[in-house]
């Protein structure tokens, strides 16, 4: 995107003639159509804490998604993927690989400096990659290049490096991170490992004047954390925010109020994960009955007000390409037949199966209750537990309280490499692999692996959600990627520049999550 921006700037010279002519000859043409430098973009997020340190992101979580979104402001990757499927140079300007895709070499962009002015070296790039990539890959500095060696073929390495946590940074002496991105965090200690994450406060970022890709248009970005979604929308309408999150239940509200909105492709999966270690869910007929009982279309169309898509696969179609091959298996009669064949007294027939809700938010709770209703229609008994009861099997082992048999999880796609995305999903939620499945980037094998995973029905997809945001009227050149990268370095504000309000000391300002204001 930055390359596009710079090319656009270069190309502007071709347009100067016409634009100048219009200005000279027609003084009435006064609308701002060219990017303007200055101003502070105000962002509000629901997440109460965020860290800029990619090493600490729990892949797939909402916090990691927020961290990645903000991390892209201060950190760069080696490459990026544009909206037309073309890899674009970022910190790497050239790349080559051997015929087996096991050895990759990336030539680094010369002259790149960290925000504080020290040059970026290949040793630092190699060290950063080694920290965020799987340990099975070896990254070495070689002159002005880095070499990545793997025992396995990595034909999809570029997709991987262009997304997720694969940012380049330097770990400072105090543990904080230095980056080369278009913005600089005002208080770098906020990304130090000793800091558990910025919580319930505001983050301030200022433009990196010496950024290799050019100074961003904005002077600063101010991020307020822990703001409830309804409050965010209210602030936007009052002109107190420029970019806010929009959950599905508020989308139509924003639309009705003629608020400018944007949605990504479906990037978040909501699914049921059955604990393979629990005897209660060992009977395949029970898992199959539960899957057949779920009415995903109603969930997407009615409960989520058409702001979601029914999911029959784990990876969304825009990412895997093959998701359409999986049938949407809703068949209540078949579910009843399977339920009837279950032994009497089995958990889920008499005593309820416990359904824990991993994810925060009303949407997750709403869907969990709907799952229970659907299950009941097939004669299955599910009890929805409160949030915080849905622990992973490993955490359950260390606690005397019984863990749920089924968990409702939310998982956000963070990698543009489908194999990597599927790996992180199965790892994060301990989903047992199907028989004969191996991790491969080959789409046929990936399809077979996902089919095998789905056939076990230890993971049952429900719906996909997009990421939606609402934007202030003055936000210009909002050109995010379809998968949700904001690209705020290209955004500019069509309003007179005003000095950013002072950052209040904790506790002295409006408490974002306190809800003092009037909610719409």
């Amino acid at each position: 995107m930055r390359c596009i921006a710079s090319l656009s700037l270069a190309g502007t010279s071709l347009l100067v003639l016409g634009a100048l002519a219009a200005e000279v000859l027609t003084p009435s043409a006064g609308a701002a159509t060219r990017p303007r430098y200055g101003g502070t973009l105000r962002i509000e997020l629901q997440t109460a804490s965020v860290t800029f340190d990619p090493r600490r992101w729990q892949t797939g979580s909402a916090e990691a998604a927020a961290g990645e979104q903000l991390g892209a402001l201060v950190l760069d990757r080696l490459v990026s993927l544009d909206n037309h499927g073309r890899f674009q140079p970022q910190l790497a300007i050239e790349w080559t690989h051997d015929a087996a895709f096991k050895r990759w070499q990336f030539t680094l962009r010369p002259g790149v400096k960290f925000a504080e002015g020290t040059p970026l070296t290949s040793a630092e790039v190699a060290a950063a990659l080694q920290l965020v990539l799987p340990q099975t890959r070896q990254v070495l500095a070689s002159g002005n290049a880095v070499v990545l060696q793997s025992a396995e073929p990595l034909p999809d390495l570029l997709e991987e490096l262009a997304s997720g946590r694969n940012f380049i940074f330097r770990v400072q002496a105090d543990g904080s991170l230095a980056g080369t991105g278009p913005f600089v965090l005002d208080d770098p200690s906020k990304n130090a490992p000793s800091n558990p994450g910025v919580t319930g406060s505001r983050l301030s970022l200022r433009a990196n004047e010496e950024c290799w890709s050019g100074r961003p248009f904005l002077d600063a970005i101010q991020v307020t954390l822990g703001v409830p979604a309804a409050r965010q929308l209210y602030d936007l309408q009052l002109g107190q925010a420029d970019l806010v999150e929009l959950p599905p239940d508020l989308f139509h509200h924003a639309d009705d109020a003629h608020v400018r909105t944007w949605s990504s492709r479906p990037v978040e999966l909501i699914a049921l994960v059955l604990d393979g270690a629990r005897p209660a869910v060992q009977d395949a007929r029970l898992r199959e009955a539960l899957s057949f009982a779920i009415d995903r279309s109603t969930m997407a169309g009615v409960l989520l007000q058409k702001q979601a898509e029914p999911a029959a696969a784990l990876l969304p179609g825009w990412l895997s390409g093959y998701a359409f091959l999986f049938p949407m298996e809703t068949n209540i009669e078949r579910a009843k037949e399977l339920r009837a064949a279950l032994p009497a007294g089995m958990l889920g027939t008499a005593d309820p199966l416990r359904l824990g809700v991993d994810a925060a938010g009303d949407v997750a709770r709403l869907l969990a209750e709907r799952v229970a209703v659907n299950a009941r229609q097939a004669g299955l008994n599910l009890q929805v537990l409160g949030r915080g009861t849905a622990r992973t099997p490993s955490s359950a082992a260390s606690n005397a309280t019984p863990s749920p048999d089924v968990r409702l999880i939310r998982w956000r796609v963070s990698s543009l490499a489908p194999r990597d995305a599927l790996d992180s999903l199965t790892t994060a939620f301990h989903v047992p692999e199907g028989s004969g499945a191996a991790s491969s980037s080959d789409p046929e094998q990936l399809y077979q692996r996902e089919r095998a995973l789905l056939d076990t029905r230890f993971v049952i997809p429900l719906v996909y959600l997009p990421e939606s945001v609402a934007l202030g009227a003055s936000v210009r050149d909002w050109i995010p990627s379809p998968w949700g990268e904001w690209h705020l370095e290209d955004v500019w504000l069509d309003r007179p520049a005003t000095p950013a309000p002072p950052v209040p000391a904790p506790g002295s300002a409006r408490q974002p999550s306190g809800g003092q204001g009037v909610h719409p």
């Binding site: 499927g85 091959l325 080959d442 094998q445």
Partner: protein
């Protein structure tokens, strides 16, 4: 022994085709042919096969058709005959995209309700004119001129000797020629049309550049103007053969794309969109260009750029835009 050897070879070929990983093809048509070769052994047992071809990617209809032909032709060479019979087994081929790849996916009917799946992938960046994807191409506009008085039509050309851009503006009563100098439009010459015209409420007019000359069409008159340092105009009475109000631009893949105005209602803002003749991707948001009022005239044929005259409903001005088609970066 020979028969055994042949059977063994056939078996090896068959099995290798069955267990080949998805092929990373070098070109899109190669990909279609590679898919056909993967699919053919699985279709050998089917007497009739009906091809169901779905383009669910952002490839143009023309590109998809090329792939379908390449795929079908390769199947034919494997002695698989395709049928239109609805009762025949359905071979589904779907073109899909991932962020970086184009996938060609075949679902082959198998015993029972199951299907065998075969795929071939090709990098999206290798697709000719892949800029047609997502926003295939983007129409861009650049305001060249605006004025309060009516403009019937405009056309842009170049003074080949001086390498200067020239702009011809047709107004109700005159034709004016502007040239660019020091990044400003300067009036080079103007001729009046009045002796040739009767007062008219009709705002129709066209300027068609033909080398060093231009044909100017107004209601009841057909004029020819020589585009020298000074304009020399000759008109004759007649009913002009109005050209269709279309704009034809060269697309990113070299093909010509025809654009037409949207509503045609002069009371509402209009837009420019690809004509619905398969030459464009009408559903691509980037290929539609919204303007602030009705599009009064379009000019430009087979070029990289064209001209649109718009009546701006907000300002009440007549505006001349240069329309260009941008590909990717």
């Amino acid at each position: 022994v020979v028969r055994f050897f042949c059977l063994s070879c056939l078996s090896i070929l068959f099995c290798s085709a069955l267990f080949l990983p998805a092929v990373r093809a070098d070109s899109v048509e190669d990909a279609a042919r590679a898919l056909a070769r993967k699919v053919a052994p699985l279709l050998a047992s089917h007497e009739h096969v009906r091809l169901s071809w779905q383009n669910d990617s952002l490839l143009s209809a023309g590109q998809s058709e090329l792939l379908r032909r390449a795929f079908s032709a390769d199947l034919m060479t494997s002695h698989i005959s395709l049928s239109e019979d609805p009762a025949a087994s359905e071979l589904l081929v779907s073109l899909r995209e991932t962020p970086a790849e184009l996938l060609l996916i075949a679902a082959i009917p198998d015993a029972g309700d199951t299907r065998q799946i075969r795929m071939v992938q090709v990098p999206r960046s290798d697709i000719p004119g892949s800029d047609r994807s997502s926003s295939a191409f983007r129409l861009q506009r650049e305001l060249l001129w605006q004025q309060a008085g009516p403009i019937l039509a405009a056309a842009e050309t170049q003074d080949s000797a001086k390498k200067q851009d020239l702009l011809l503006l047709l107004q109700h009563d005159s034709l004016a020629l502007y040239r660019v100098e020091a990044e400003r439009w300067l009036l080079q010459d103007s001729v009046t049309l009045e002796p040739f015209l009767r007062p008219s409420r009709d705002s129709s007019g066209q300027v068609l550049i033909q080398g060093e000359e231009a044909q100017v069409l107004v209601p009841g008159r057909i004029c020819t103007v020589h585009l020298g340092t000074h304009l020399s105009l000759a008109c004759r009475p007649g009913t002009p053969a109005w050209r269709e109000n279309v704009l034809t631009l060269s697309s990113c893949d070299g093909a010509a794309v025809k654009f037409v105005p949207g509503s045609g209602d002069w009371s509402t803002p209009d837009h420019l969109q690809p004509a619905e003749d398969g030459s464009g991707t009408a559903d691509s948001s980037g290929s539609r260009l919204d303007v602030a009022g009705p599009i009064l005239s379009l000019s430009g044929e087979g070029n990289a750029r064209g001209i649109a005259v718009v009546y701006n409903l907000s300002s009440g001005n007549y505006e001349v835009y240069r329309i260009t088609l941008a590909c990717g970066n």
